[in-house]
Subunit: 395 residues, 2 copies
Amino acid sequence: MNYSWAERLSGMEDPAIKNLLKTMQRPDVIALSAGSPAQSSFPVAELSAAFSAVLADQGASALQYGISEGYGPLRKWVASRVSRLGIQCEMENVLIGNGSQQVLDLIARILLNPGDYVAVESPTYLAALQIFKGYQARLLPIPMDQDGMLVDQLEAAIQTKRPKFIYVIPSFQNPTGICMSLERRRRLAELAARYEIPVIEDNPYGELRYEGEAIPAIKSLADSPWLMYAGTASKIIAPGLRLGWLVAHPEFIERVATAKQTSDVLSNSLTQRAVHRYVTDNDLDAHIETIINQYRLQRDVMLAAMKQHFPAGVKWQAPHGGMFLWVTLPDGMDASALLPLAVEQAKVSYVPGTPFYADNSGANTLRLNFSSPTPELIAEGIERLGKLLKSYMNG
Amino acid sequence: MNYSWAERLSGMEDPAIKNLLKTMQRPDVIALSAGSPAQSSFPVAELSAAFSAVLADQGASALQYGISEGYGPLRKWVASRVSRLGIQCEMENVLIGNGSQQVLDLIARILLNPGDYVAVESPTYLAALQIFKGYQARLLPIPMDQDGMLVDQLEAAIQTKRPKFIYVIPSFQNPTGICMSLERRRRLAELAARYEIPVIEDNPYGELRYEGEAIPAIKSLADSPWLMYAGTASKIIAPGLRLGWLVAHPEFIERVATAKQTSDVLSNSLTQRAVHRYVTDNDLDAHIETIINQYRLQRDVMLAAMKQHFPAGVKWQAPHGGMFLWVTLPDGMDASALLPLAVEQAKVSYVPGTPFYADNSGANTLRLNFSSPTPELIAEGIERLGKLLKSYMNG
């Protein structure tokens, strides 16, 4: 059909990702490509009780429209929950969205004009890149080392390109698993204040730490209107509930609420109430502890299998938390070119690294997921992938 | 704070609407300004049973991520449901969004470049105007008469301005209550095909008819890729569930799904399943019949009270369906200027007409809602408003 599309549409589209999603649905392929939490971890009975209790206690009022900022008691709970990360805030600092993905979309919507720069870690969450490109932003990829984004290079980029905001995933980053050091977090908070540029701290995985000491949130390091924090229920409760949150200055929240009002009025009233009920009636920390124990085991199974089956020259580092393991193949190898072989011959899938790079580099990198498959499938999938890599590298 | 906002933000903001929402929350004011369905009509027990049944039967899979197009069985149900409007389609023609508001937002996102024209009824749904202005569109308001949009004027506007799409609410329009005639619908479908311009048919109220014969949907009048149809569960089940749908050509649906993926990945998985379960296990038509009986009564109470209490010179027409009654005050009167008096003195609220007009005209018009307040409050509210109008017009 001869539809006349908006220019921004091309920025949102990535055929590689679309094909990938199709691959993941093939039942004969072991999906190490997932971005989803383990279904076995979802608190089904507790959520069922919470939905019933809300409808029994609040009745029809739980099904009516409400304000775009979200359900008050849930916003209060978020404010209290983030205080353990060192973030001091009130309900007025919180907005509820449909997952942190919508929070990022709304922020981009109220900040970005076409051509604006956005500084991002390189590599970073591929859907965030799609969001920013959908608003016709130009991306400023900043390299990372094992302590996270290289903030000296960021400052140089700020001085020359003046990005509209800086987007980071400081804890157990997607895709690399890297945790930004406290010192880098401090520098980032300072840069935000000095240059008056928002830092968007996306933290879906921060509570999923399997070893080591917690590092404070960037937003906790300064009482600054330039520091914004996004969290989500997707990785600690369940993603199908589509609940995430933004913590920011009330003046910023007010404008995000305007965008939310225009976008879809409000997030699901009943689900907001049920999730509030769930966290009130249950021990979320104990639940997260069971997820941590499960994912730690799965990570260790993956690491052990990689050690056993991956050929020399393939490199990785053990992440201290999160859901992903980042793999670097020898120079000259192309993970995108290898993927069809992996899927068709080895019957195992992963995500090639390139879509995570704003500059389309990273051909020899790939992302593995250890949260979604069972330990048995992880071991089998890594063995299959190891065999493929060996035959490919020797061939 | 010195945040640097995107240019599009100013298009989304309307301080008048923000103030209005605050007014509606005052417990001492009778809100005839609502846009919400009657809370008493929500099927609380049935929905509670549906949520429980889905979690009992489908377990954790009901809480996982899913495809952006929506839950297959719900999409199939929508395809079957719209067939009674004469629309022939399959699951592939349907996408589930967070209410029809998000459907409109996603359509605007993939079609509109800044400066593009959008043809709209004058007046029309004020949030649609905010969405289109948020994408920096220019609006082409087309006047209406009692049969709906004046399609001759639309065709003239198409020839000179070539709008990107045409947005209409053909049945029991918000705010006027007008139902577009079959002949006008036919002309609109012809214009869409002739000029290859999408017509977005927004139909939240179509099933709420209190008298007269049903008129086929515009989309049913031609098997055309240029006709798009948006529906919602908000007015026939409950708005807090945030479920709406788009029916369109599969090529169009595919691009809307791309925008949905970027925007918030998917709509609430559990709610999609629960609503599907609700419509499967219950008689939705019988439920809608009870809503119709309730709203017809409330409309008639409002009409009777208006006849009794409104002064000569104030004009209105009885709508055959929907939730709204449109009032025209004598020339020279200003409903926006009168609103503070209504709220502070008479303790009754309405929506002034101006925000519904793309060209900010309509100063002497206002919208009343009869779905949300009880018959007692409607009678009392209209009496208060009538007294105020009398004293104001005599003063």
